[in-house]
Symmetry: C2
Subunit: 125 residues, 2 copies
DNA sequence: CGCTTAATTAAGCAAAAGCTAAAATAAAAA
DNA sequence: TTTTTATTTTAGCTTTTGCTTAATTAAGCG
């Protein structure tokens, strides 16, 4: 993808290759993490995750009410979160309840917990 | 944004309003967090962050070499990260070095640290 | 069964993202 | 000063995202 390489003084080819190796090593984990962060990196979805961390479980309708959004729009977000393994759903009668799912909880819990703690962007100085 | 409210049995209006209040409370922090996660939720940018966590600082050229990407493409990612307060740059001669910045480090550090530790998506069972 | 309710899905569209290629800055070096 | 090098910026284009509206599926209930 790259045509002209930099010919700077410090072009340490060994170093470059070392970085590439290290990257390749974590590639699968990094890819997985990136997808979770991409899901959480949307304000609406992060709100949904925050609510579910608080409330254990909520139905589509409740979430739509809280966020003042269309059921359809919310449902589409929930689908993404479910597909990403962040949420799981269980149906009771005709209502579907969503809840945080195990797999990525270790990543999300601390982020969500930080929200209730620190209101400002700088968390403790 | 919503036309018809759900008329389900458990439509607890008080509960809904309680959730809205709690959300409103963390709104600024949540917004800030979402923007950082959105930045990190891109594979290329997450790689850049991972590299910088390892290497302290790198120039645009180095990163482009490691990622096998155009300098221009990398530069555009770096700009977003810098605008988001995740990175800062300092120029030495004609080369610009980028490094992780303080403000959002408490959020990012644990995520990046988790990468080197656990190769699989499930971090310890 | 037909009707209502909860939720999903599909289609369409505007906005945002991410890349390429080319032009513009800026700081050495010749 | 002209040229080279490192980086940024711009324009253009394709893909993805997130919403709306309308249609569809599914589960009670009269």
């Amino acid at each position: 993808m790259k045509s002209t390489a930099c010919i700077r003084v410090f072009a340490d080819t060994n170093h470059i290759r070392q970085c590439q190796t290290r990257l390749a090593h974590v590639e699968p984990a990094l890819q997985s993490l990136a997808s979770v962060l991409a899901l959480a990196g949307n304000e609406v979805r992060l709100k949904i995750l925050f609510l579910l961390a608080d409330e254990q479980q909520l139905c589509v309708c409740d979430i739509a009410d809280v966020l003042q959004m269309t059921v359809s729009a919310v449902s589409q977000h929930l689908r993404k979160l479910k597909d990403g393994g962040v949420l799981h759903a269980h149906k009771v009668g005709q209502t579907v309840f969503y809840a945080l799912s195990q797999p990525h909880l270790p990543v999300l819990q601390p982020l969500l917990a930080g929200l209730s703690a620190a209101p400002s962007p700088q968390p403790a100085q």
